[in-house]
């Protein structure tokens, strides 16, 4: 479904963000990418979204190369990125107004129901809490029914309670809409809770150190956090993050 092949990216200022990052994801799967700050996770997501052309490597979506942003890929940012002069409903409708050609989209009402914002259709972003704003952002990302959703630390700026509620809601929504998703996060528990596979990235330049496959049943709930299996998976991810880095041998 979504394949990234040997993605490397070096910024014009010489910072090497990614080195030979490859990943593969089948339809309907959830992949979480965890890694230390500044490991190029967000760069990787921007490459997958077609917002950034990598120095080398290719991204494929359903057999077609991704070279520019496409309505087949939805995106959710750490900041809810809502337009402050538009109501909730108008913000959700935005992608339909911008060059999106197609009719297999959700209705705004369906999405408001789905993300649990009934009654707030006409509210303005400044009247919403951080968690509600992210729900709007999620609804906006889903309105075109994109087969793939990319999430860039979408709950990073929220308090712990709101995060738990939202991750549980997100899990249900993605299952209901059968969306394939890639999420970048700092939270190992969140990654294990949501994902089918957790990719652990090295510090910059980011490259995959290993993959932990999550076999917890769905639907998931936070009660699972006390399951031994959950703890074991978290431990596996931590072990990968903690392993000493060995620089690949250089040939002169």
């Amino acid at each position: 479904m979504l394949i990234a092949e040997h993605i490397s990216h070096t910024y014009p200022n010489g910072v090497e963000a990614l080195r030979q990052f490859s990943l593969q994801l089948s339809a309907g799967q959830f992949m979480a990418i965890v890694g230390p700050s500044g490991c190029g996770k967000s760069t990787l997501l921007r490459v997958l979204a077609g917002l950034l052309r990598p120095t080398s490597g290719k991204v494929w979506l359903a057999g077609e190369p991704v070279t520019q942003p496409s309505p087949r890929i939805g995106m959710m940012f750490q900041d809810a990125a809502l337009l402050p002069w538009r109501t909730v409903a108008q913000n959700i409708r935005l992608p339909l107004e911008l060059g999106w050609r197609g009719n297999a989209h959700f209705s705004v009402e369906e999405l408001i129901q789905l993300v649990g914002l009934r009654g707030f259709e006409h509210a303005y972003p400044r009247e919403l809490s951080g968690g509600m704003a992210q729900r709007v952002s999620l609804a906006r990302a889903l309105i075109t029914r994109p087969p793939v959703l990319l999430l860039d630390e979408p709950f990073g700026a929220l308090d712990a309670m709101t995060r738990e509620n939202l991750t549980a809601a997100l899990e249900g929504i993605l299952r209901a809409t059968q969306t394939t998703a890639v999420m970048v996060t700092h939270s190992i528990a969140e990654a294990v809770f949501l994902a089918d596979q957790v990719v652990v990235s090295s510090p910059r330049p980011g490259r995959p150190l290993g993959i932990v496959r999550v076999t917890l049943p769905r639907p998931r709930h936070w009660g699972m956090e006390s399951w031994p299996e959950f703890g074991h998976l978290v431990g596996q991810v931590r072990a990968l993050l903690a392993q000493p880095l060995v620089e690949p041998a250089r040939v002169n």
């Binding site: 921007r46 979204a49 077609g50 917002l51 520019q68 942003p69 496409s70 309505p71 890929i73 995106m75 940012f77 900041d79 990125a81 337009l83 402050p84 002069w85 935005l94 992608p95 107004e97 911008l98 060059g99 999106w100 303005y124 400044r126």
Partner: protein, 274 residues
């Protein structure tokens, strides 16, 4: 500062009944403060006018009388309309020019490098010294005064147009790119609405300055307008008339400011500041 913190404390517990009269008096004072300062101003003016001959400082009474006379004979509304008919087209022209230059500058580094020196220079030009040039080139009809106005209002508006159009945060720009928006859509649905609070701030300054520009033009050469009226009063030692002219200009400038503020409210621009 003290009064303010005091007030908050009283509001919070709601029990400090002994302070209520003080609070009430404070609120009354706040509400009627503008009226109070105006009365004080007129009182001091009146007191001072008793000490000087009327051609140096006429009292508020004689100025008011002159004001009513000039309204009754229709000359004050006439001259005020002339001045407005120079200032408002000048404001419009200056605003159009500010958009015509501000949009390319906000979008392209090359345009910025090419045009910015001229824009900064336009602010450095002493317009009172350049106005005679405009009279030589364009004659002493209303067009020249409109141009002087446009020159005066241009700078504060263009600076705000540029800052406003650049004000949309990077995440929102990424969002529009991720949604495949065309440059025109990004402009209409993101950059322009985000710029509106800035643009209105520029218009408020420009609107008041447009009156200054019109008067400056009329001072140099005119046979009508409030600037002409003030000049006329000056040459006949008709000091009440001069003061009537000045106060009318202030009134017009406040009205233009108020009208722009009303338009801003009608468009709900307050919402637009993220």
């Amino acid at each position: 500062m003290f009064v303010f913190t005091n007030r908050i404390r009283i509001r919070d517990d709601g029990q400090a009944s002994s302070s209520r009269p003080v609070l009430l008096a404070g609120r009354m004072l706040e509400r009627f403060a503008p009226l109070l300062s105006l009365s004080l101003f007129i009182g001091v003016w009146h007191w001072l006018s008793l000490r000087y001959p009327p051609f140096i400082l006429p009292g508020p009474g004689s100025v008011a009388q002159r004001f009513l006379e000039k309204i009754a004979d229709g000359s004050l509304p006439f001259h005020a309309l002339v001045t407005l008919s120079e200032a408002l087209p000048g404001l419009l022209l200056g605003t159009l020019a500010a958009f015509a230059l501000g949009i390319p500058i906000s979008r392209s580094r090359l345009a910025d490098r090419l045009l910015s020196p001229f824009i900064v220079a336009s602010q450095g030009v002493p317009f009172i010294a350049v106005a005679p040039l405009l009279f030589i080139w364009f004659g002493n009809g209303p067009l020249t005064k409109v141009l002087v106005c446009a020159l005066v209002v241009f700078f504060p508006i263009v600076i705000n147009v540029i800052a406003g159009l650049r004000s949309a945060p990077q995440t929102l720009r990424d969002l529009f790119r991720a949604l495949n928006a065309t440059p025109a859509q990004t402009f209409m649905k993101l950059e322009l609405p985000a710029a509106l609070p800035f643009i209105f701030a520029g218009l408020r300054v420009g609107g008041t300055l447009s009156m200054v520009g019109a008067i400056a033009g009329e001072f140099l050469s005119a046979d009508r307008g409030l600037g002409f009226l003030i000049n006329l009063g000056n040459s006949f030692y008709d000091t009440p008339l001069v003061i009537v002219g000045v106060l009318t200009i202030v009134g017009l400038a406040l009205s233009v400011y108020g009208a722009i503020r009303l338009a801003e409210r009608a468009l709900r621009v307050e919402r637009w500041a993220a």
